[in-house]
């Protein structure tokens, strides 16, 4: 069923406007809920299923109440102070809690809310305990009431601006990438942990702000204000509105706040049989919730996205690598050299990549053991061996997704074993995956632009200020990415949603994305899987071309034609051990290799 998204948004906005004109008290409620929804969005968007918003709102509410009543701080100071208190708590609990996944995080953060609630009860001197804190007799209350609605609206508008501008910057893109595929994001040079912490912190601060406003809007607090149901409601706003776009949660909060009020006012409670059926508005509310979510299962905001962005701009061209614009491509190579020179010139000659005694075990089973070999700059290395020989494990070790359990990996003269994957990616090692790991719901172009993450210097502040330098960098990144796509014959697909591409095209996008990092070393894990002989051969040519432009390559492949044609040197693994190393010709004659892997005709 087709639903016009703008019509939905217009209906929600109109309903809310009507309500607020009719009953200005509902404006506070609406704005506070929208703010809470944004706080849930901040975490949800970073792939954190956190239900901590209610807990932080409680902290913000009580903190600002305490600052106002006990310390006599003016409201315009007590609210920011409360936000700072939330930030402090978020920093402390974020560290351990953010390691948890999905539902585990959700329940743990629910628990956090419960602990906050119990703490409120247990600190009667500070919070009034179970009997609650009452601001309504405090001097700040009346003053606050007068300014409440517009200061709240202003704060929300400001938050919206921050989210809007951030979403159109590298920060927003990085968060989208993390949402889609945190592991791939990490290997594209994005510090996933830092971003998640940032998102959690932002969520806590926004929730705290909303809570502080709540305290001053309501004038009294008790421990029941932010209990379990509230936490679920807040998450509901964000999901219902759509967690893909920043405006989704606001629409969601607008809808879900307005609906019960409209039902209440529309039905009244003094009419006929409804008189003794006070539950009817609640029942209809639940029904409406279910109906709407069925028609907009990705949330209201998802209705917007499905339309514009994801249309193919033309059919995919066959991979015509012979038409490669060598001159343009040279730019990639030289940039790669630049980036290498920029960051990691410390290494002495001869230590491009060196593995010595590297091993890795999983639950006692050795996947790799005692592996040593060196790579030189600008050469192509093939890594072959039977399934389960440890090839992908090796790639994971070099790219930093796994720490080795033994041994040393030296890259440009520095030991990098155990270093975080995003740092390794930034130092010039890019990779692709055996099972394609694209950011599926992002466009092909966006996927590639993610590769520019480390090179875009403009941070969040620049994005918020919309500095020209940041806009320029963004435009530049897009231009370069489009160029790269063009060279891989993918420019017609730039606007397509990556997940909708065919298997082989996805592989090419993955390679383009890796190249966007301007790597000195490219790790390719079965790049030709799903390609036919012709395409495989073209890929081989392409790899050789990359080498010519200064990129070293380690390629895992079962297509022996490609390996034999492209590689300068081949390493053969079997049961986690190196059984041979040498030129293609030598390896293909090696008895052990024939025995273990190639087989004899």
């Amino acid at each position: 069923m087709k639903i016009a998204p703008w019509a939905v948004a217009a209906v929600v906005v109109a309903a809310d406007a009507y309500l607020c004109v009719k009953n200005p008290q509902d404006l506070d409620r609406l704005l506070i809920n929208a703010m809470l929804a944004l706080s849930a969005f901040a975490t949800l968007h970073a792939r954190l299923l956190s239900l901590a918003s209610a807990g932080f709102a409680a902290i913000g509410a009580y903190a600002s109440a305490i600052f106002t009543i006990k310390l006599g701080l003016p409201v315009y100071l007590s609210i920011p102070a409360a936000v700072l208190a939330c930030a402090a708590v978020a920093l402390v609990i974020g560290l351990p809690v953010l390691r948890l996944k999905d539902v585990y995080l959700a329940i743990c953060t629910l628990g956090f809310g419960e602990i906050v609630r119990v703490s409120i009860i247990l600190l009667p001197g500070l919070t009034g305990g179970a009997t609650g804190a009452n601001l309504s007799t405090g001097f700040a209350y009346e003053a606050m009431k007068k300014t409440q609605a517009w200061s709240l609206a202003l704060a929300l508008a400001f938050l919206c601006y921050l989210f809007w501008s951030a979403s159109r910057s590298k920060t927003g893109r990085a968060l989208r990438a993390i949402r889609e595929n945190p592991e791939a994001a990490e290997t594209m040079g994005i510090d996933v942990v830092a971003y998640k912490n940032m998102a959690f912190l932002a969520s806590a601060c926004i929730a705290g702000l909303a809570g502080a406003f709540y305290a001053h809007s309501i004038g009294s607090l008790d421990n029941g204000d932010f209990k379990f149901n509230r936490a679920v409601d807040i998450l509901g706003y964000a999901v219902f509105g759509g967690s893909g776009q920043w405006f989704g949660p606001i629409l969601g909060a607008g809808f879900l706040t307005a609906l019960p009020i409209l039902l209440r006012d529309g039905l009244g409670s003094s009419i006929g049989f409804l008189k003794d059926f006070a539950q009817l508005p609640n029942i209809l509310n639940g029904l409406a919730l279910m109906l709407v979510i069925v028609f907009a299962p990705g949330g209201i905001a998802a209705l917007f996205v499905r339309r514009g962005e994801r249309r193919a701009t033309g059919p995919a061209k066959a991979m015509k690598l012979d038409a490669l614009d060598v001159l343009a491509f040279a730019a990639v190579g030289s940039a790669a050299r630049d980036s290498a020179a920029r960051g990691l010139s410390a290494g002495g000659p001869g230590t491009f990549l060196s593995l010595s005694g590297v091993g890795r075990s999983f639950g006692g089973v050795l996947a790799l053991s005692e592996l040593s070999f060196d790579m030189e700059e600008g050469r192509i290395y093939g890594l072959i061996g039977p399934n389960g020989a440890g090839k992908t494990t090796l790639i994971n070790l070099v790219s930093g997704l796994l720490p080795p359990s033994a041994g040393k990996i030296e890259w440009l003269g520095r030991e990098i074993q155990g270093r975080k994957a995003h740092r390794i990616a930034r130092s010039g090692i890019a990779r692709t995956y055996q099972n394609i790991q694209l950011f599926g719901e992002m466009s092909v172009l966006e996927n590639v632009v993610v590769g520019h993450h480390a090179r875009i210097r403009s941070g969040l502040l620049a994005a918020w200020l919309r500095l020209p330098s940041m806009l320029r960098e963004e435009a530049e990144a897009r231009r370069e990415a489009l160029g790269l796509l063009g060279r891989l014959g993918l420019s017609g697909l730039a606007g397509m949603e990556a997940a909708k591409l065919s298997y082989g095209d996805q592989r090419r996008v993955e390679i383009a994305r890796a190249l966007a990092l301007q790597p000195r070393l490219l790790l390719l894990d079965e790049p030709a899987a799903g390609m036919n002989e012709i395409e495989t051969a073209a890929l081989g040519d392409f790899i050789v071309d990359l080498k010519r432009h200064g990129v070293a390559i380690l390629v895992v492949e079962h297509h022996m034609d490609l390996i034999m044609a492209a590689c300068d040197e081949i390493v053969v693994l079997n049961f986690g051990r190196k059984i041979a190393q040498g030129s293609p010709a030598a390896v293909s004659r090696d008895e052990t290799v024939l025995e273990a892997y190639l087989g004899r005709e």
């Binding site: 399934n387 099972n435 298997y503 095209d505 002989e533």
Partner: protein, 238 residues
Amino acid sequence: MSLLEVRDLEVRYGSIEAVRGLSFSVEAGAIVAVIGANGAGKSSTLLALSGLVRASSGSIAFGGRDIAALRPDRIVRAGLVQVPEGRAILAPLTVAENIELGAWTRRDAAAEVAKDEERVYALFPRLAERRLQLAGSLSGGEQQMLAIGRALMAAPKLLLLDEPSMGLAPMLVSAIFETIAEIRRSGTTILLVEQNARQALRIADSGLVLAHGRLFKRGPSEELLADPAIVEAFLGKA
């Protein structure tokens, strides 16, 4: 009458047309290879045959009966079984349980099923050794064997194999192709999608060449292997 008759099949994903008006048939007892470039619509065709994606138009007759609108489980029950790309084994279940579940749709006697189970373990002795191991702990090649063995348990009349050699070591690739040939000898018809086109055509009786969602060429394998245009576009130098 052919075992499988596909007429004017179309498959769309939103605005993308993956398969456009494809017609072909598969005779009982044959191996038919489907080859073509990436995005030519091979996997989409198989998914439509298995009912995992709905054909937007066209008919699929299997054993004389139109199955285009049937649910996936009904299609399996009718005897059309697929081993999908990426194997789709049940990682948290044991090998034996995977095999056992392969016979889910069968209603014949337990003894028959048990006999088939032994046949599968005989075909893949590696699996017999690992009966109680979790399927997720198998190597890629063993997982492929398991996926095929499991599909055989459904006693298929037509077996769809999507890229069985993908990601396998060269030694295993030839082993898998040998197995496929052996399965055919036991009477099962096979529709084989392969990127490894040359090898696929070698064991197949005939081939279908797809391009951009359409049938580009069809014919006996030897003919296709000898066709310069096909060699140029899909097989590459030998």
